[in-house]
């Protein structure tokens, strides 16, 4: 049995189909792992698992010590041999990994497993020694000779160039990387793109764009130039910013310096040096570095910078439009705000449009139509605001301003969008709000601020002057006392002046009556009947006279009862008063011992006066 590493090219599907019936699985099943014994750090190599039978369920071992570049790729091949009329068919499944060695050392890759006829089979483990540097060249680079001739940097180099050395912050700078070569280049790959700190980068060359090639003469030597990478850079800060070198791996074809001792046979030499023979050129790998570039980024001027400036640098125009001017409440309308032009369009922030407060405004949808061509970034960015008016009425959307830094004249420019007047009609429901609970809005605060200043004429006064404790206060405080004393004095004077004795008598009536009764009591004790009767009589008559301001001469029993009746004194008290008066008069002129009568009279008089006093109150 011959194991053969074969490619798909060698598959003969038709034959296989025709002969598959004949073939058998007589041979022994083998599952093998193959790889090179020794590889260099960084080198890529193949690890192939092959099985010479129909297999499925391939399980790869875990490969930790190498990085997997590709794999596993499955391929099938079959071959057929006819020897002495005996047909032998062989089938082969292979699983291929492309691995890269990362570090030095000896590593073992564990066996893989596969199912053949329902049985699991294990491959052999593979041990690979990884050495430093570039040891023997493997199968991968068959054409590259070990003793590669050096390629002069005169013949092959990479150059980075910028279209502007001192841009403004945010201004677009185009970096172009070019290969200059005088020898044929078969392959190149960018291995390291510099990390551009301080820049925002936009790739201007799509992967499928064909390389732009042209010829250029430098110092008398003609080069083929290919632009292989182009970036638009936007500096995010000012100052000196460095574009670090780019790293490029190139495989160039160099004429082989033949080591073969020349024979003198010109035909022979020519034959072997002939390019057709394939030995005249060899592939040489070389790593190239571009030059680094330092940009002197100018800051944007502070003068004239407005608050609305959000970092747009370039040359722009704005347009704004609204899809309808008349709308029903709760129906949506769209406002489009478009910035078009050339510059850092992707940095443009949404415009600060002030909508009427009871419009619902949603975050704008951003539609970009930005071309990143070799000449830089241009196009337009559109902000679509979806707005829903909630109440009917006429509203105005005020113009929004867009500020950008104009590179042509180095100044800030402000553009204003159009002003829109919108008429909102009443929404569904025929304009009637009756019963439409949803149309009512909860009262809400839309902002917090302090209340406004007081603009009236202020009631100013000297600082730290309080009414309390001031002279004014004490004067005002004493004033009522003073006024009261003045009142009392004048009042007393007035009373005397008017001779209003009646009032005095009225006030003193009870006192006088009591005094007389006291005197009468004295006489009673002394037994002075005459004086006693006079005093009692005087007390009673005098009380009435003083109280009701009736002169003594006008007093009579009738006038007394009349006066008492006027004061609403009770009838029985009046009759008692009158009878006491009568008794008094009677006792005065009655003969004999009247001590008993006098006692009664005194008690009666006292009672009558006290009761009348109470009644009159």
């Amino acid at each position: 049995m011959r194991m053969k590493s074969v490619n798909r090219k060698f598959i003969f599907p038709l034959l296989l189909l025709a002969l598959s019936v004949i073939s058998g699985y007589g041979q022994q099943v083998e599952f093998k792992a193959t790889a090179r014994d020794e590889v260099a750090v960084g080198e890529q190599f193949r690890l192939i698992y092959t099985v010479n039978a129909q297999a499925n369920g391939f399980k790869a071992p875990s490969i930790r010590d190498f990085s997997i570049i590709v794999g596993p790729n499955q391929s099938t091949s079959s071959s057929m041999q006819i020897i002495n009329n005996q047909v032998t068919r062989s089938i082969e499944y292979s699983y291929t990994f492309v691995l890269q060695a990362n570090k030095e050392g000896t590593f073992t890759i564990n066996p893989a497993s596969v199912n053949v006829d329902g049985k699991s089979r294990q491959s052999n483990p593979v041990t690979i020694k990884v050495v430093k540097g570039s040891p023997q060249q493997g199968n991968d680079n068959q054409g590259t000779a070990q003793s590669a001739p050096d390629i002069s940097s005169k013949n092959l180099f990479v150059k980075a160039s910028v279209n502007k050395n001192s841009p403004y912050q945010g201004e677009q700078v185009i970096v172009t990387y070019k290969i200059y070569t005088r020898i044929p280049v078969s392959e190149y790959s960018v291995t390291k793109i510099p990390a551009l700190t301080g820049f925002w980068t936009e790739n201007l060359m799509k992967d499928n764009t064909p390389l732009k090639q042209y010829r250029e003469t430098i110092n008398g030597a003609e080069y083929v130039v290919a632009e292989f990478k182009k970036d638009a850079l936007f500096a995010q800060k000012s100052g000196k910013l460095k574009i670090a070198p780019l790293e490029l791996d190139v495989i160039a074809q160099v004429e082989r310096k033949t080591k073969r001792a020349r024979t003198n046979d010109p035909f022979f030499d020519n034959f072997f040096n002939d390019s057709f023979f394939g030995s005249a050129y060899q592939n040489v790998r070389k790593t190239l570095y571009s030059n680094s570039i330092i940009l002197n980024v100018k800051p944007l001027p502070v003068a004239g910078k407005s608050n609305d400036f959000s970092g747009a640098v370039g040359d722009f125009k704005i347009t704004s439009s609204i899809d309808k001017k008349t709308v029903k409440a709760n129906d949506a309308l769209t406002l489009r705000f478009t910035v078009s032009g050339r510059g850092n369009l992707k940095f443009i922030d949404k415009p600060n449009i002030i909508f009427p407060t009871d419009f619902d405004v949603y975050d704008p949808r951003i539609v970009d139509n930005i071309n990143t061509t070799a000449s830089g970034m241009s196009g337009k960015r559109t902000f679509e605001f979806l707005i829903v008016p909630r109440n009917h009425g006429s509203y105005t959307i005020k113009p929004a301003s867009f500020v950008y830094f104009d590179l042509d004249n180095g100044k800030y420019k402000t553009l204003r969008s159009a002003e829109f007047k919108i008429t909102v009609e009443k929404g569904v429901g025929g304009g009637s709000y009756v019963g439409a609970g949803n149309d009512k809005e909860d009262f809400k605060y839309i902002g917090t601020d302090i209340r406004y200043i007081n603009t009236d004429i202020l009631n100013l006064r000297p600082v730290n002057m309080f009414l309390f404790g001031s002279i004014k206060f004490w004067i005002l405080f004493m004033l009522p006392f003073v006024l009261f004393i003045i009142f009392l004095v004048t009042w007393q004077k007035e009373l005397k002046k008017r001779g209003n004795i009646a009032l005095m008598r009225n006030k003193k009536a009870t006192g006088v009556a009591r005094k007389r009764l006291k005197a009468a009591e004295q006489y009673l004790k002394q037994g002075n009947q005459q004086s006693f009767c006079t005093e009692i009589s005087n007390a009673l008559w005098g009380y009435i006279s003083d109280k009701f301001n009736i002169s003594r001469s006008a007093l009579s029993i009738d006038s007394v009862s009349e006066a008492l009746q006027k004061q609403n004194v009770k009838a029985d008290l009046i009759s008692k008063f009158v009878s006491t008066l009568n008794n008094c008069e009677f006792a005065r002129f009655a003969p004999g011992d009247k001590s008993q009568v006098m006692d009664n009279l005194y008690t009666e008089a006292l009672q009558v006066i006290t009761q009348t006093e109470q009644e009159l109150k």
């Binding site: 004429i457 202020l458 009631n459 100013l460 006064r461 600082v463 309390f468 009522p480």
Partner: protein
């Protein structure tokens, strides 16, 4: 009597004359405020205060200008000063609340006993001057009742006058006491606003004192004691401590 009346008239006239010029400054300041030149407004209002004038509205406007320029401690100071002169002004109370929302410290008020609460609420009913006027008005009323009592002939009317007179004597005495207290509160500055961004409150009036807690600018504190460049303060939750005098501005 006539002399006193004349004296009053002259005092009012003099005050009126003095008032004319600062009012012009205030109008200018109000205009500056309306146009958004808050710094100008502040310097004009401050000028009027510096000339020795005061009014709750003036303090209120100045507080607003400070608020607009984001000088919250000053805004609170002037709102508090305005509140002292006009304790029930709704606008002053509202703006003071808004300004207090902007300061860092949110301190829970220690609950007062009900009668303390009641007493301070009663005191807030009028400004110190209002209470002084009330005292005088009540005094006049009392004597008017006494006179009416003396002149009245009717016993019923006299009875009513006697009870109301006694009641008014009580009220007058109470109002007079409140007048004294509010005057004292207003005159002796027992409250202050913190003017230092972050102020450690110490356990003793010396630099080496232990830091008890930290308060921040704009907070109102009570001053309870004073000692050579240091002030003992109490905050609303009842905590006490010592701070440097220059960290505070008295209301």
């Amino acid at each position: 009597m006539k002399k006193i009346a004349l004296l009053f008239i002259f005092t009012f006239l003099a005050v009126g004359l003095l008032m004319a010029e600062p009012q012009a400054d205030i109008n200018k300041a109000n205009k500056a405020y309306q146009e958004g030149f808050y710094e100008n407004a502040i310097s004009l209002y401050e000028k009027v205060i510096h000339e020795g004038y005061t009014s709750s509205e003036l303090y209120y406007n100045l507080g607003n200008a400070y608020f607009k320029t984001d000088q919250i401690p000053s805004a609170i100071l002037y709102y508090e000063r305005a509140k002292k002169l006009d304790p029930n002004n709704e606008d002053i109370l509202y703006n003071l609340r808004v300004a207090n929302n902007k300061i860092i410290d949110k301190i829970d008020q220690l609950p007062q006993l009900f009668y303390q609460q009641w007493w301070s609420n009663v005191k807030q009913l009028f400004s110190p001057d209002g209470w002084a006027v009330n005292t005088i008005v009540l005094l006049f009323l009392f004597f008017a009742i006494v006179v009416a009592f003396l002149l009245s002939g009717s016993v019923k009317v006299r009875k009513i006058l006697l009870t109301s007179g006694l009641l008014i004597v009580l009220v007058t005495v109470l109002v007079f006491i409140i007048s004294i207290q509010t005057y004292d509160d207003a005159n002796n500055k027992r409250e202050a606003i913190v003017y230092t961004a972050s102020l450690p409150v110490k356990s003793s009036p010396e630099e080496s004192g232990i830091d008890l807690f930290v308060i921040h600018e704009g907070l109102k504190v009570q001053i309870i004691d004073e000692l050579s460049g240091w002030k003992e303060i109490r905050i609303d939750n009842g905590s006490k401590g010592w701070v440097k005098t220059e960290a505070l501005k008295a209301i």
